[in-house]
């Protein structure tokens, strides 16, 4: 049998990255030396810790750590450019809202900036909230840029998520992938019928998205039937009962193992997390009043504390 022929049907380019639902992950990365559970814990760590921290400088520092980890992890920076629009849009949105609708409180200090009245406290508050959000966002981006769906599921199961739940998560991810592919083909088919999306009014474009539901659901309904047949044929029972009566093994999880690296990383993360949490909850160390920038600005603007 000619195995050369077996490889021909893929496109000729060399794979520099692996494709996942949300984008690409690098072919090689120092992150892969860690167990998926450790990587998932890192995600939780980087994603949740900003919630304890309301000092913008510290969150910006966390953001820089994220960026450094992205570089270290060999993530292709080009691919991150797609997140730029979100970052700017969120900033514009948040600051516009706080300028136009700052809320009322007698302790707010009004400032005149370019002819508009702006209140210092809510603006700084928004500034701090913004960086917290971005730090959390980049924690998420880091995770999804260095982990495939398979590692997410193994990580979840390692953290004791039951098999059925992890299977449902997996199926949802797969379904989302199929959905997106169908969506792309449907858009092409519409174009082939003379639909010129660029020449449409915005309200029509919105209505268009509603229309996509019809073929997407037709296809999804037909597929759902086929998928359930395929599951039946693989002997899957919701109760988790197996045909030999033996307990169900987790083969994929068994292909990963923990090493010293993992223990060290997990211990460090847990310690830092707990310490930060306790510091904030009991001693309010990361409160916004402790931000050096805040202190400086208040001094400069002569705002009483």
């Amino acid at each position: 049998m000619n195995s050369e022929a077996a490889r021909v049907s893929t496109t000729g380019r060399t794979a520099k990255a692996r494709k996942t639902l949300l984008g690409y992950v690098p072919m090689e990365s120092p992150f892969y030396a860690f167990h998926p559970a450790t990587r998932l814990i890192l995600f939780i760590f980087l994603g949740v810790i900003p919630l304890f921290i309301f000092i913008p400088e510290v969150n910006i520092f966390l953001l820089l750590i994220n960026l450094a980890l992205l570089r270290w992890g060999k993530v292709d920076v080009q691919r991150l450019k797609i997140y730029m629009p979100i970052i700017f849009t969120v900033a514009i949105f948040m600051f516009t809202v706080v300028i136009l609708a700052p809320g009322r409180d007698p302790s707010y200090t009004p400032l005149e900036v370019l002819g508009i009245t702006v209140f210092y406290q809510p603006v700084f508050f928004t500034f701090a909230a913004y960086w917290r959000l971005i730090a959390m966002l980049f924690g998420t981006i880091l995770y999804f840029s260095t982990n495939r769906e398979r590692e997410l599921l193994v990580g979840l199961r390692a953290l004791r998520l039951p098999f059925v739940a992890s299977y449902v998560v997996g199926l949802s991810i797969r379904a989302a992938g199929m959905f997106m592919e169908d969506f792309r083909i449907i858009r092409e088919a519409e174009q082939a019928r003379g639909l010129d999306t660029k020449a449409m009014r915005f309200s029509d474009q919105v209505k268009l998205y509603m229309m996509y539901l019809i073929p997407l659901f037709s296809i999804a309904l037909r597929r759902a039937n086929e998928i359930s047949n395929a599951l039946f044929a693989r002997g899957y029972t919701l109760t988790g009962r197996t045909s030999t009566g033996q307990p169900r093994q987790d083969y994929i999880r068994s292909t990963y193992s923990y090493s010293k690296r993992d223990f060290v990383a997990i211990v460090v993360m847990v310690v830092v997390f707990v310490a930060t949490g306790l510091a904030q909850i009991f001693f309010d160390i990361f409160a916004i009043e402790h931000s050096p920038l805040n202190i400086l600005l208040r001094q400069a603007l002569e705002i009483p504390s």
Binding site: A5, V8, S9, T10, T11, G12, R13, D182, I185, I186, E188, A189, E190, Q191, A192, R193, G194, L195, D196, K198, A199, M211, Y212, I214, P215, S218, I219, L221, R222
Partner: protein, 277 residues
């Protein structure tokens, strides 16, 4: 015979950097019946999508009836010249009734209500879609009828060239013959040029007068089907084999059998002739 589509030195590279087509040159005229063959990934679908403007050339150009596909904002004009029927009818049925489906295209190009109505009735008739299903939701129709509704919705735009992606996949013998005869009628009676993208060589031999063979983004062969199937060594490069009966003849060429028989009937006639000599 007027020229319909002219493809000149076409190169196409996907946005992610994958090259798909290299230096393709092609022309078609009215009333042709053409088959595009080649293994998956050879560029058949990419080429077809360039021809109807869904994809813009990276290099080179495509002229459809005096329109250069690289221009912006000409989708509405292009779809009235080149129609594309997708492989899975479900991807193209976006409306809640058959009538709305067939009217979708004419509505998009801005025809008046009375013109739209005229187009729908005409297209439905040609495609064999009866008026008693006009109010039915396409989801509930059987596959053959859904395919005909999809074709009718393209016909309503009256394109001179119609590209059909895999018309006979998953169909049985009777259904395949029905759809292929229908496409043949569209060419014979209505003057359309039909281009089919297919993997079924028997269908190509029975219906396509001209065959274009693509392999790894290049055009390997382009000519009368008979001539194309006489070159199995080139076809092999793109993992295509001529129909079994053609191969039978090619294996016994030295004993007098034809190297380009397209059907069992032709082989029978050739055998008789050979024996008479």
């Amino acid at each position: 015979m007027t020229k319909l589509i002219t493809v000149e030195a076409l190169d196409f590279v996907y946005p992610d950097g994958t090259p798909a087509l290299f230096d393709i040159n092609l022309e078609n005229e009215t009333e042709e019946f053409i088959a595009f063959i080649g293994q998956n990934g050879s560029g058949k679908t990419t080429l077809s999508k360039c021809m109807n403007g869904l994809l813009k050339p990276t290099k080179g150009r495509i002229i459809v009836d005096d329109l250069d596909t690289r221009q912006r904002g000409i989708i509405k004009q292009l779809v009235t010249k080149v129609g594309y029927v997708f492989q899975n009818p479900d991807h193209q049925l976006f409306n809640r009734s058959v009538w709305a489906e067939i009217a979708y295209g004419p509505n998009n190009i801005g025809l008046s209500q009375s013109e739209v109505k005229e187009r729908v009735i005409e297209a439905a008739q040609v495609a064999g879609v009866h008026d008693d299903v006009f109010d039915t939701h396409p989801y509930f129709l059987d596959k053959g009828l859904r395919q005909r509704v999809a074709i009718a919705s393209i016909l309503a735009l009256r394109p001179k060239t119609i590209i059909v992606d895999e018309p006979t996949t998953g169909q049985d013998v009777r259904q395949s013959i029905e759809v292929m005869n229908f496409l043949k009628r569209l060419r014979d009676e209505e003057g359309h040029t039909i281009i089919i993208i297919t993997h079924e060589m028997r269908i190509v031999a029975d219906y396509a007068e001209r065959t274009v063979v693509l392999g790894q983004g290049r055009k390997l062969l382009d000519g009368p089907t008979r001539e194309v199937f006489s070159q199995p060594e080139i076809l092999k490069q793109t993992f295509v084999e001529p129909p079994q009966i053609t191969q039978l003849g090619q294996a016994l060429v030295e004993e007098g059998l034809p190297h380009d028989a397209l059907s069992v009937e032709e082989m029978k006639a050739a055998f008789k002739k050979n024996s008479a000599e």
